[in-house]
């Protein structure tokens, strides 16, 4: 048996395939996807695609020519059901033998075990099919409740209020984006959403979802309020798709366990992307990251390893999100930060929050301050030492820290 089989057809799967070829892998490559499309851009699904500005034909990450030229065969609708270490994957489209295997199964939207969660009009967003479903529902919707104040929830809320809906965001923690951003940024974003007419409720749990004739009609929150809604979006996070790997003993609840090169404990099996829990050079420990950047860079490293080459994935984690006129960019990992320092003017909507540990910057969250962000991608990867006062002083040239 020979050849590479990739289970999963999104950013990580594509980058594994592309990197394997770039690094000289000459055997067959087969990508199994449970979707009906070539790997596509997901960020527009909650924004431009939902609002109609981004055409569907422009979503693929690579056109058909790429797969043809690189001899990557894509099997659509091929949900994998079992992997056997004897060297095959069973799917709903039949059995595929492999010499090497990559698990790039990503995540799925977390569901809530609540009464009413199965009503028509209660939706999640993960895939293009999900986005098409939501887009079709928008013209018939008047008020929507978005459950979850994370990136996807907020992006959806922003898009929906722009298209004229009444939007309420229900967040269980005491602020939005609490898992990924500091307090200053959360408060700024909450204020911007309020200004744009989105009703953001924090410290508010979901009690139940009410329906009428099988269709959703309202959401009840733990504070005793009832919010009428004809569309409810559950945006309460993602669950890594680890079941296939777990069955092989290659996963824990943290994710599919890999080293810095995407290798699992089985020398023929690799993993990358949202589902993989692996050694991250920048973090200095194993982590699981849900991001385009990580799926891309970890995928590249895994693809190279499959081709027999080791490349050091030293990239600094970075993320982005566009909400209203806010271009949000995040670089680094804020866990373990001791202080927040503001650089720029919060009032003018152009600033960054620098997360400090000792005299090091460990993360930067920027609003409409691209130069801080791009500098951060270089600076955070390098040794540096800077005082809070220097960071806060816009006349201090942070670029000087690079030399």
């Amino acid at each position: 048996m020979s050849g590479l089989v990739i289970v999963g057809g999104s950013y990580a799967g594509l980058n594994i395939a592309a990197s394997a070829r770039q690094n000289g892998y000459s055997e067959s490559i087969t990508m199994l996807t449970d979707e009906a499309y070539l790997p596509y851009n997901r960020p527009p699904l909650s924004k431009g695609f939902l609002l109609g500005g981004v055409e569907r034909e422009t979503l693929p990450l690579r056109g058909e020519a790429f797969y043809r030229d690189n001899e990557i065969e894509v099997i659509f609708g091929a949900r994998a059901t079992q992997i056997d270490r004897a060297g095959y994957v069973d799917t709903v489209k039949g059995r595929f033998d492999f010499g090497q295997l990559a698990i790039a199964t990503g995540t799925r939207a977390k569901l809530l075990p609540l009464p009413g969660a199965d009503l028509d009009g209660v939706v999640t967003l993960r895939s293009l099919a999900d986005a098409e479903d939501i887009r079709e529902r928008l013209p018939r919707a008047g008020s929507v409740v978005v459950v979850g104040g994370g990136f996807i929830g907020l992006e959806l809320a922003a898009s929906m209020v722009k298209s004229g809906l009444q939007v309420t965001v229900v967040e269980g923690l005491d602020r939005v984006l609490a898992r990924v951003m500091g307090q200053t940024m959360s408060r700024y974003i909450e204020a911007e959403f309020a200004r744009q007419g989105v009703h953001v409720l924090c410290r508010s749990g979901l009690e139940c979802i009410e329906g009428r004739d099988g269709r959703v009609s309202a959401v009840c929150t733990t504070d005793g309020l009832r919010h009428p809604a004809d569309l409810v979006v559950l945006a309460v996070g993602a669950v890594p798709n680890i079941e296939l790997a777990d069955h092989l003993g290659l996963a824990s609840s943290a994710g599919v366990l890999v080293d810095a090169h995407g290798r699992t404990a089985d020398p023929r099996i690799f993993s990358a992307g949202d589902c993989a829990f692996g050694m991250n050079h920048f973090a200095g420990r194993s982590i699981r990251l849900e991001s385009v950047q990580n799926a891309t860079d970890q995928g590249k490293a895994a693809g190279a390893a499959i081709a027999g080459r080791e490349i050091v994935n030293g990239s600094v984690p970075w993320f982005w999100s566009d909400q209203f006129a806010m271009k949000l960019q995040m670089v680094g990992l804020a866990q373990g930060a001791e202080r927040e320092v503001v650089r720029g003017s919060i009032e003018s909507g152009k600033f960054s929050i620098f997360y400090m540990r000792g005299t090091r910057i460990v993360a930067i969250d920027s609003v409409n301050s691209v130069s801080d962000h791009v500098l951060g991608r270089k600076l955070l990867a390098a040794d540096h030492s800077v005082s809070d006062a220097e960071v806060a002083d816009i006349d201090f040239n942070l670029r000087s820290l690079l030399s």
Binding site: R62, G63, A65, F66, Q293, S315, K327, V370, L375
Partner: protein, 107 residues
């Protein structure tokens, strides 16, 4: 349909038809032109669709705005006077025949 010429670092030259209104980045990613990674899908977030615009065409493009300029500061290959992010070059009939050189590295 306007044509765009992509010249790769290894010397390969590809002429591709790109519909008006689409970007030079999309022309590459949709037609198998290697070397334009486009990690963020054209949302001015990543700086991995860097190209060098053939001199004759440079002046016909809209100016580089602040965001694009800031991102160009972070490109992996050297930033030159004719550096642009290809997601920001929208193909029109007036740009029929535009040629771009793809740098060696995008990350």
């Amino acid at each position: 349909m306007p044509r765009v010429t992509y010249r790769s670092h290894d010397g390969a030259v590809r002429d591709v038809e790109v519909a008006s209104g689409r970007s030079v980045m999309l022309g590459a990613t949709m037609n198998g032109v290697p070397g334009i990674d486009a990690d963020c899908g054209g949302t001015l977030s990543c700086a991995t669709c860097h190209v060098y615009v053939d001199g004759a065409w440079l002046d016909r493009l809209p100016a580089v705005d602040e965001t694009e300029s800031d991102l160009l500061e972070n490109v992996a290959s050297e930033r030159c006077a004719n550096s642009r992010l290809s997601c920001q070059i929208v193909v029109t009939d007036a740009l029929d025949g535009i040629a771009v050189d793809i740098p060696e590295r995008q990350f």
